[in-house]
Symmetry: C3
Subunit: 267 residues, 3 copies
């Protein structure tokens, strides 16, 4: 028996019926679906936080996983519902950049990314509401896909889906880059947009990371090796440079939030 | 292989072991059960909030779904544990009105509602505690039901289960009704007890919705079509009139909470 | 088809991608795994809170359940990853006392407890990070175990795993014991470390429980039988004496937190 995996990432929270309603719709259409919550705690309407969280999580799942994402301030307006095939996974949600951190790097590397505009109302829940496309479009489309409906049935391919490239650091001089804090995790660690893939040099060369009033010049291998209370850089488990304080809360200690600029100098 | 769906709605929160314990009991008795959380974030002992959330969610699930509800301030006292068959679904929990918003409208329409008093201790977990019937009565009864035990085995039918009718608006003059805020959702939207089924007229006739110091005369089709910061009425995805502020928090902006009165005038 | 049950208990919260990432890894290796969250809301690094919550939950699950626990302030340091076989269940996590409230009482009763040091990197996720052993060691080992790999394959048995015995009350005179508050639950109940098994006498003999400025001499059978606002002792559903206030918040009312001392006198 196929047990297709579907993940859910939303800004719906767990207080209301929204998430459960989507799960009910999915299980009604695809009774063998395996449902996994990524998070429902994205700040309301914060597309970039949703995009980053999805980017951190998706590759841990097996190929053919279907990821449903609903952070959708434009629900009911002209923004299109889409199905993305990228990296061997599927993504179903609004065309507002929520999946751009996944397909962006793939496009940059010339890997195939196929995006379809979900237009076939035969796969929507009826009556279609104007305010809850998670239940009425994204959940049923994902469930039909999980049940074996081929992507081409859901709608035509499009090429003008939203591509966003300002997630990444910009080079400001030969050995100087400006990035930003993408996210603060539960432990208060400040997760930057400096990836290990692009900035792995800091493991072997002297560097300085300027954030707030701190200048950090040390890269630690784990949280435990640094003294209590001292800020340190670390390459986090998602492959991005993080600023951490051992058993402390870096965001509070440094007074930095999401979007705070970070300057990286490598000698 | 049957994979019966069981949902869970409680005021237990996710901080403690309570919910997981219920799931362990269910999976021990019915290893193929599919468990879906509706929410565990009902305010402690707030039966009406639990009732409303269940009412919003249940119809999204397929027929024969078993809904376990535990918002149970009277646990261990004389209140009866019950099994409700209504609308093609099953509901297991305390007889305290938690399922009344589901069977109430069905009874009003003359549809069949069967309620049983859970008396057969052969289907309870032993030793039976006095403070955790979620684990000791509701979870095992639901699991046995999911495994194929027929409803009649659990106990005798009763007709004096708790019926509550004051969930709905009252008519105060020919074209004037007084309702209330039933719930505030994560986005701060004020969900009223004016249903589209009964008050759908507002889609085509002039109306005024008086709440706090606001008089709302506009019905929008979606959140995005109204200016930032302006309160507007909308027919929400659950079929109830909501007061919303586009990308804002209506409850804070209007200073209204659960139970706040709403006056609806239709011309 | 085997559908092995795996539970997850962490301090990761549900805001980030951590928990979902572990689930993705598990489902990639063991597609039929049944995943149940115990809680992810353990306070960061609070091993004893994690230990207590696991102890409250594990026995509700069927034999052979695999419990993954990650409250791991020493991740990346010398603390060992372990697999514990105890009471017919499996436990996978760090050797830092997180499972000590489960195997401690079993060891005291002379029951078999087998602990292995996870050394076989063939069952780890590669590349192995230094900061996220939940994803790279504990999740894949648990998934391989669920898929049928025998425990001996994961590493050698050890006997010097962390044993902690100060969870329990100490006797301070013939009929006087000093215990403590182990946990405050969502309802504000103060859960003590006086177990029914050891202190069941209070059901039939006069006693006094001194906590904060209160002296409690009444044991109630359920929350509902006591007046609103009066503190009372109750034997909780996990088998420990709790101090409760009917429909109130005992922790706030008594001004007590985790670790607060409780003196029990029995006549």
């Amino acid at each position: 028996m196929r047990q297709p995996i579907l993940t859910l990432t939303t800004d719906f929270g767990l207080h209301d019926h929204f998430v459960a309603t989507m799960k009910g719709v999915i299980l009604g259409l695809c009774p063998t679906a395996r449902l996994v919550d990524i998070t429902h705690d994205i700040a309301p309407f914060e597309i970039s936080e949703g995009a980053f969280t999805l980017m951190e999580a998706w590759q841990a799942f097996p190929k053919k996983t279907i990821h449903v994402g609903v952070v959708d301030p434009g629900v009911g307006s002209a923004r299109r519902p889409i199905l993305v095939e990228a990296g061997g996974h599927y993504f179903v949600g609004p065309d507002n950049g929520l999946f751009a951190m996944i397909y962006g790097p793939l496009l940059d590397r010339g890997e195939p990314v196929r995006v379809r505009h979900l237009t076939n109302e035969a796969y929507f829940r009826q009556p279609l509401s104007r305010t809850f496309h998670g239940r009425d479009i994204f959940a049923p489309v994902a469930a039909h896909l999980a049940s074996g409906v081929t992507p081409a049935k859901f709608g035509p391919r499009i090429d003008d889906f939203l591509k966003i490239h300002n997630f990444w650091p910009t080079r400001t001089s030969k050995r100087l880059w400006t990035g930003q804090v993408l996210k603060i995790d539960r432990f208060g660690n400040l997760i930057s947009n400096f990836s290990e893939a692009e900035f792995g040099e800091i493991k072997t060369r002297p560097f300085a990371l300027n954030i707030g009033t701190e200048k950090i010049q040390r890269l630690a291998l784990n949280y435990a090796e640094v003294p209590f209370g001292e800020p340190v850089a670390i390459i986090g488990s998602s492959g991005f440079v993080e600023v951490c304080v051992n058993q402390g809360h870096a965001a509070k200690q440094l007074g930095c939030g999401v979007g705070a600029p970070i300057e990286l100098q490598i000698w």
